[in-house]
């Protein structure tokens, strides 16, 4: 199918099979490679992106289900976003492969909750990390909340 989509405020038009998951359109068609493939079955969160600000697992989201929502990938996250700042300051990534997904999950959490509790963090941050950066992710979420508060 012919598809036009808005990714990170840019308009693209692509020709792809309607059952193609959004992940592979982003990666193979638009060459936006920051979004990662980890499991292909919605289990790991490496492919997390935002549709109108809500997180989805793009490996399991066929493009035919798109309804003109605005798509945000890691490439579209403001480098000065408190989450990115916190991630950088605390050197969160190890191998880094899961981190695009982690960052996008944290961006949503921060948008929706101004003062997340431990439970909020755990239920928002379900992305797997085989390097075990969870302790740093937790700290970075806290730091980004602080940074956001200071910004406001």
């Amino acid at each position: 199918m012919k598809l036009s989509l808005v990714v990170n405020n840019k308009k693209y038009s692509v020709e792809a099979d309607s059952d193609t998951p959004l992940l592979w359109v982003l990666r193979d068609h638009l060459q936006l490679n920051g979004t990662k493939f980890g499991c292909g079955e919605g289990l790991c969160g490496a492919c997390t992106i935002l549709l109108d600000g809500n997180p989805i697992r793009s490996c399991s989201f066929p493009i035919s289900s798109l309804k003109d929502q605005a798509i945000t990938t890691i490439e579209g996250v403001d480098p000065n976003h408190p989450v990115v700042q916190a991630w950088t300051k605390l050197d969160v990534p190890q191998c880094g492969y899961c981190q695009s997904g982690q960052i996008l999950s944290a961006v949503v959490l921060l948008d929706k909750t101004s003062n997340p509790t431990d439970e909020d963090v755990q239920s928002a941050m379900k992305n797997l990390c085989r390097c075990g950066t969870y302790p740093e992710i937790k700290k970075a979420v806290e730091l980004s909340t602080e940074l956001k508060r200071k910004e406001a």
């Binding site: 099979d17 990662k36 996250v77 050197d91 191998c95 981190q99 075990g132 302790p135």
Partner: protein
């Protein structure tokens, strides 16, 4: 593992053992000319061009001469410093970065000794070349927690040599004595006149400078970066999505493939529906590969759909008939075999108690977050590979063999690795990419699905271990017999024989600092034909559980505190004892834990370091909940303390995942697990608080990527024992 690695590459490792001196260094400055530069730039992998300053330590001279004699098509960017087209100074850092932070640690050493400004340094991954051979292995390979241990000395010699060449070159330009010059934050300074010049402006004249025979290394007091928690060099690209992993490589005209390999190891493709697969839009080819078949298409999704339509079936194989039950029976039966004796001792007849116990550990997959993949472009004159690999040496060898090219016609580019953990020391994915590119006569990237990744791993071998211990009246050992049954990872790695026994199978069982009397150790190999490989901490991943579990058992039986029991077996000035003492304090061991909390401890020497851990756990709805892990590591002198702590924490989480959940099952010779639902990884909610301390030490550097793993399972088992009054001798732990 290192000993064996050395053996298998004895020729080159002999050469590399002298790489610590700078005698006979030769300088070469190479003006790169690169046929597929555009492709590379597109892939964002190497900004070629500019000027490269390199020299080879004696170990690499021969290889250098060979490459230079080859055609102009060779890829000449091999060296240590590069002034690229933008005027940026780049350093080539000879290790694969897979999360362990070695790229950062080696950059710190390089920059500090050179006098470069760490914050301004650009870091690049070099191509394959013997110049970058890991000095501990004698081959270009990252693994065994060796990066800092192997490069600590040579990297400083290299940097000091470069520094003196740059200074001399500046002095010559100014026509002053080099003695009047010094280096500060990337600038060469002529002290009497306060003139300054950046490295960039002298690199091209430095090529005429004879490299010093014995460059002077900086004193520890002169270090500006070493010993400090400098920020990681890879963070910026890993938080904005621009870091290039293997799976991200894009080449013009590239096709994408995915594979189905025989679920029974060693089996062959039997039938498939080529027509149906080819009817899928975008499918460009069906290619048989060893033990499997690939669908090549314009995009991954089309390749995957093609594979679903292809419906390959398989026949035969080496593991037909194997299932978890008969594998485990064979391992336990192996205890009745005599095996190969590693250590032997007289039997003690005068003793008070006799204990025997059998421990076991299962097969494990690595599940790196990035599934296996590689990209290759084979032409008549070249074989070029982009791979997230720990093993450039083997990648190059395999690529040359398959593409029928000479070694100098093969280029391996190393991308970032989305996890390694030992899996990527094997290069099966490289072989596939090369084969597919040759077949399709185009660049091809091969990407495995997650089920393919889990079902075609080189697994941590299962192992069974039996201890027979005789003790005195106090419960202290008088005789210590160990027999371990497992498979050989080195036989897999080196194509060794079915009967080969390697050191990793029993490493850690009879070579810890414990002063055990009358130790005997024998090793039985059971070759199941299941592919096995290095899994973070290799043999220690199970021997740590076995030996420390047995010590915890014995301590409890003898009514000892587990710290005291171990101290009774250790010299007070041993490094293990030092770790124990610090860990006892850190964990507040002497104060009683809450009623519903179980505590356990373990300490393991591995990879040149000593790591102890205390685990605090509870039972929550009948499930094990780990609250806290305290950890102390003595890894000698430390280049970057924060990276050491992160690696410890990472190893603890990796080890906990295995101890709580990890087991690969077999049915009819096939792996049963398919994805993260049936082979789960620890989640954030399950991750305990982790507290790490580093022992202050001036000893030579030890490893830290792996040593966090071995102690966590036995410490956890002991903690859970306190809660249930049962003893746990089998992994994963089931309450």
């Amino acid at each position: 593992m290192q000993d064996l690695m050395k053996k298998i590459s004895s020729q080159s490792s002999q050469e590399s053992s002298v790489a610590h001196t700078s005698k006979n260094v030769q300088v070469e400055v190479i003006e790169p000319e690169n046929p597929s530069r555009r492709a590379l730039l597109k892939a964002g992998l190497l900004g070629m061009g500019g000027l490269v300053l390199g020299f080879s330590l004696p170990s690499a001279q021969k290889a250098y001469a060979k490459t230079d004699a080859s055609s102009s098509n060779s890829y000449p960017v091999k060296g240590w410093l590069q002034l690229d087209e933008s005027g940026q100074l780049a350093m080539f850092i000879p290790v694969s970065e897979m999360g362990q932070g070695s790229q950062t640690a080696i950059t710190m050493i390089f920059a500090d000794e050179l006098g470069a400004d760490y914050q301004k340094v650009v870091v690049k991954s070099p191509i394959n070349d013997p110049l970058y051979n890991n000095p501990m292995f004698g081959m270009q390979l990252t693994g065994g927690s060796t990066a800092v241990r192997a490069w600590w000395e040579p990297m400083r010699v290299i940097a000091a040599t470069l520094r003196e060449m740059l200074v001399k070159s500046a002095a010559k330009q100014w026509q002053v004595s080099a003695k009047e010059c010094e280096i500060k934050e990337g600038m060469i300074l002529h002290k009497p006149t306060q003139r300054q010049i950046a490295f960039q402006h002298v690199i091209d004249t430095a090529k005429w400078v004879q490299p010093p025979k014995n460059p002077t290394l900086k004193k520890a007091s002169e270090y500006r970066y070493i010993g400090k928690s400098m920020p990681r060099v890879d963070t910026p690209s890993k938080v904005n999505g621009t870091a290039v992993f293997g799976i991200d490589v894009q080449l013009p005209d590239m096709l994408i493939a995915t594979v189905a390999q025989s679920p029974v190891f060693g089996g062959q493709v039997d039938s498939y529906d080529e027509q149906a697969a080819k009817s899928v839009k975008g499918v460009k080819g069906i290619v048989k590969i060893p033990h499997g078949i690939a669908v090549v298409a314009d995009s991954y999704w089309q390749a995957k759909k093609g594979l679903e339509k292809l419906k390959p079936t398989f026949k035969g194989g080496d593991t037909v008939g194997l299932n978890t039950d008969n594998i485990e029976k064979r391992l336990h039966d192996g205890l009745n075999k005599s095996g190969e004796s590693v250590k032997s001792a007289q039997a003690v007849t005068d003793f008070e108690h006799k204990y025997e116990a059998v421990y076991s550990a299962p097969y494990l997959a690595h599940t790196t977050m990035e599934p296996m993949n590689a990209t290759a472009h084979v032409t008549d004159s070249h074989c070029e590979v982009w791979a997230p690999t720990q093993n450039q040496a083997q990648s190059a060898k395999v690529a040359a063999e398959l593409s029928l090219h000479q070694p100098e016609q093969v280029t391996i580019h190393t991308t970032y690795l989305g996890g390694g953990f030992g899996r990527r020391a094997f290069v099966d994915y490289v072989a596939q990419a090369v084969t597919l590119s040759m077949e399709m006569e185009r660049p091809v990237k091969v990407i495995w699905s997650r089920p393919e990744d889990i079902q075609h791993d080189f697994y941590r071998p299962a192992a069974v271990c039996k201890f027979d211990v005789k003790t005195d009246a106090k419960g202290l050992p008088l005789e210590w017999q160990t027999k371990v049954v497992s498979d050989s990872t080195m036989a897999e790695f080196t194509n060794g024989s079915d009967t080969m026994i390697d050191g990793a199978m029993s490493e850690g069982l009879a070579d810890q600092e414990y002063q055990l009397p009358n130790v005997s150790l024998s090793v039985v190999r059971e070759d199941m034909k299941i592919p096995v490989g290095f899994w973070r901490s290799v043999g220690h991943s199970y021997t740590g559980f076995f030996l420390e579990g047995m010590l915890n058992d014995l301590a409890q039986k003898a009514g000892y505190d587990p710290f005291d029991y171990r101290r009774a077996l250790l010299k007070p000035d041993s490094r293990t004892a030092g770790v124990l003492n610090q860990l006892e304090k850190l964990s507040g061991w002497k104060s009683k834990p809450a009623d519903n909390v179980g505590r356990g401890m373990a300490v393991v020497e591995s990879f040149g370091s000593f790591a102890g851990e205390v685990v605090e756990a509870r039972l929550e709805n009948g499930q094990i909940k780990v609250d806290k892990v305290y950890s102390v590591i003595d890894c000698g002198m430390v280049v970057n303390p924060e990276i050491v702590k992160r690696q410890m924490s990472s190893g603890i989480i990796y080890g906990l995942t295995a101890a709580l959940k990890g087991k690969i099952h077999f049915e009819q010779g096939r792996v049963q697990e398919t994805n993260f639902d049936d082979y789960p990884a620890l989640t954030m909610a399950e991750t305990p608080e982790i507290i790490v301390e580093i022992v202050k030490s001036e000893k030579g550097p030890g490893g830290y990527g792996e040593p966090g793993v071995p102690p966590v399972a036995p410490a956890l088992a002991a903690a859970v024992s306190q809660l249930t009054d049962k003893i746990y001798r089998d992994l994963p732990l089931k309450v």
